[in-house]
Symmetry: C2
Subunit: 460 residues, 2 copies
């Protein structure tokens, strides 16, 4: 006996389907014959169509089968609800302990995002001729790539056409696309040591042999690169990650010669060149490249917003050809409304103004962080890297107990960041991030930090 | 003699830097000594600070070097502008030939996107407590994952907690994340044959051994899978891609047993289950899985917008643990404003209403396409797959000249799509997409298509 309620909102055929399914799973045997459609329709005062629809669905899901000129038979009696939902999960996202002072080295101040302008441009973008029904351009919308190309030319000396640009959803996405694309032609990958572990790991995932090349005060040690058998090298020439050194012009030319001589590729990661405080940004290596050997990687994460998730790569001609394969493996990665809004943001000159503004704001914070560290830590520390980005890197210059520092920080609610986690344990410094704190907050945070710092200096 | 113009907008130190750099690159020799800072300052009526800044920048970029108590010397005279920008590039994006009739099988109508609601929710999201200064959640914002979990439970019978969900930027992104994550534990990957080539290629890129498992009217042939040594299988059980068959309940249970017995993983791609027209969507395989062996892949591309670039995966517990590595390799992929807007769209019930609406619209188009094909092509064709998604798949049932069809289509401005390009040449059918055309357009398009179709039937 099935329970069918004509007054319920659930369609009749769904009610019937559920009732029969329940019966099959609880009391039927395989091979049982179901009542005929006409019989069910008459018994429950349903149209034959309704019964037919329910039977069809049972057939499609594999519970019953229609034998022509014979009727419907049960072919499976398995229960589909076989377990209860586990309640053991915890909401990890909500369990994050709040810190009193957080020196996160890769964030900007919440207020520094130009929300008012962004909102206006977002509405403009959504009101225009935007087509959300189809796919967007695999490489990123042409208009956005055009704006990025123009920006890179005027601010970084990067020479490129929009068709060389691929818009990606963050550095990891950019570097993984490169690792994937270069895989068929190259198998050995060189990287600065210490260097950015994400780049190394991306290439490792795709099976490349990794060669670590030492870094000195002029950046990558070229002799080591030349002696290696690598034909791809990943570098951060403007502001080496994590040591902060920059590569002089002589070395840049030698590096380009190396790439030409081995038919190689240089991946230039220009991750935070917009944020230099003591000098002008050094022009890109890509701009020196006459042979088309440099891939340029950039991002809006450091200069505009880490949560916008927009980065880009500029490819030389030889790699554009590599991407043109019979079966596409490039899909658009950034949501169309974001691309369109960002295009307007660049086109209308807002980005250039924004860069000037946040450079000034962050220079103040940088200088304040530096002054406070000098004032509070005195001669017990040395600066490893400064003058750019969103953090000053420091180390103790006296015997020091890092375990004590970490324990005290945890106890006092001070969140600290160490370089080694982003460069694969190869090099360490404390990353004193200032991008998310205003000047008053920096002073207060460093004051509290100084107490646990001095407690961690070894006394004997 | 340097040209310094006090009235120009360019800062004085930049003017001086450029002048000296030009001199170094054109007339200096390595080892030349530069004039002292005091001398330059006096000659050009500049402050010593200005000159010092220009010299510092020249040092940083590697053109000159300071020898303490001696002065500044030229150490590199390389020119940095070594080539002129090539003008040979063409704007590929603008060279796309417009077609009169386009049967694109993976798009929705431009008008079907709920732009008015989206705009309103977007502003609401940007006006809320959104922090664009920091990173968003690596897995996707908790609020959005929570909404996706609830939606999947009520509409697809997927049982999951938000912490099992990772928000990705499209299917390729989802599947590549899986290929990368599973790599250390698995090395052999089984896929339906014919099957979706993007999934196969993603796993191929990461070095997996690929095993193709035949598909029959019940989907994947289980005996072949059991005989293989694969421990991961990718399947489209609700609506097999490309053949359109669905896997009955008996097979689903057997597949789950297989996964348990080999300590394996089933990747269920439920790409277009929202768009079924002749029956209710079959509940997900994930919902039957008591052992935590199924990864569920879903997307908003087919149901809401392909250019929104939002997809998601639901991981079983064992894979969540695999992702928790000492160095994160998961970064957020979808822009925060999009995540926040989509969260509101789901939360306020707009998505459920939207699904009902586009299912009705697309059913009409599907039925119209089917009727028109039957009317115009008569007995010269057979339907390979129908009743779901955004295309009806057809093949000729009479001797046929596909080359002729392609040539005539090109000539007549009719854009056709073939299955083989998305399943690696393994199986072919014409994909008659209807999602981007309204009923009147379908009629007109099929009428023109029918002419070239009949011209391509072999007459002898």
């Amino acid at each position: 006996m099935y329970t069918i309620d004509q007054k319920r909102k659930t369609p009749l055929h769904v009610q019937l389907f559920n009732e029969i399914k329940k019966e099959i799973m609880t009391t039927s045997n395989i091979g049982d014959k179901l009542s005929s459609i006409r019989k069910i329709a008459n018994t429950y005062n349903l149209s034959r169509n309704t019964v037919q629809t329910a039977y069809n669905q049972l057939c499609i899901e594999g519970y019953i089968k229609n034998r022509p000129r014979s009727g419907y038979y049960v072919i499976d009696t398995s229960k589909d609800i076989v377990f209860e939902k586990s309640t053991a999960y915890e909401n990890k996202s909500k369990n994050i302990k709040p810190y009193k002072y957080d020196f996160f080295p890769a964030r900007l101040c919440k207020k520094s995002f130009p929300m008012k302008i962004w909102k206006r441009l977002c509405i403009k973008a959504l009101s225009g001729d935007i087509d959300m029904g189809g796919y967007c351009d695999d490489y990123g919308e042409f208009g956005l790539r055009d704006q990025i190309a123009k920006y890179l030319m005027r601010s970084r000396g990067v020479r490129c056409h929009p068709d060389q640009i691929i818009v990606c959803s963050g550095f990891l996405d950019s570097i993984e696309l490169l690792a994937k694309t270069l895989k068929d032609k190259y198998n050995s990958f060189a990287i600065e040591h210490p260097g950015y572990h994400l780049a190394r790991r991306a290439f490792e995932s795709f099976g490349y042999k990794i060669q670590k090349i030492a870094v000195n005060k002029d950046g990558l040690v070229l002799e080591q690169l030349i002696q290696s058998d690598a034909r791809i090298v990943y570098i951060t020439p403007s502001h080496q990650y994590p040591t902060g050194v920059s590569m002089p012009i002589t070395h840049r030319h030698k590096l380009l010669q190396w790439a030409k001589s081995v038919d190689g590729i240089i991946i230039e990661d220009d991750y935070d060149s917009e944020l230099t405080y003591n000098n002008h940004p050094i022009p890109s290596l890509q701009g020196l490249d006459a042979q088309g050997r440099v891939v340029y990687c950039g991002t809006f994460a450091k200069s505009l917003s880490p949560s916008l998730r927009v980065s880009y790569i500029v490819l030389p001609d030889i790699l554009i050809k590599l991407l043109e394969q019979p079966y596409d493996t490039i899909f658009p990665k950034v949501s169309l409304p974001i691309q369109k809004t960002l295009e307007l943001f660049l086109k209308d000159g807002h980005y250039d103004r924004h860069i000037r503004k946040i450079r000034t704001i962050n220079k103040k914070r940088h200088d304040c962080m530096k002054a406070e560290l000098i004032k509070k830590l005195g001669k017990t520390f040395k600066i490893e890297a400064q003058g750019a980005g969103l953090a000053i890197l420091i180390n103790p210059s006296v015997p020091f107990d890092f375990e004590q520092l970490k324990n005290e920080a945890e106890r006092e609610g001070i969140k600290l960041y160490f370089s080694k986690y982003s460069c694969g344990d190869e090099w360490d410094a404390l990353r004193m991030g200032f991008g998310g704190l205003d000047v008053a907050e920096i002073k207060e945070a460093v004051e509290h930090f100084a107490i646990i710092w001095h407690n961690s200096i070894k006394k004997d």
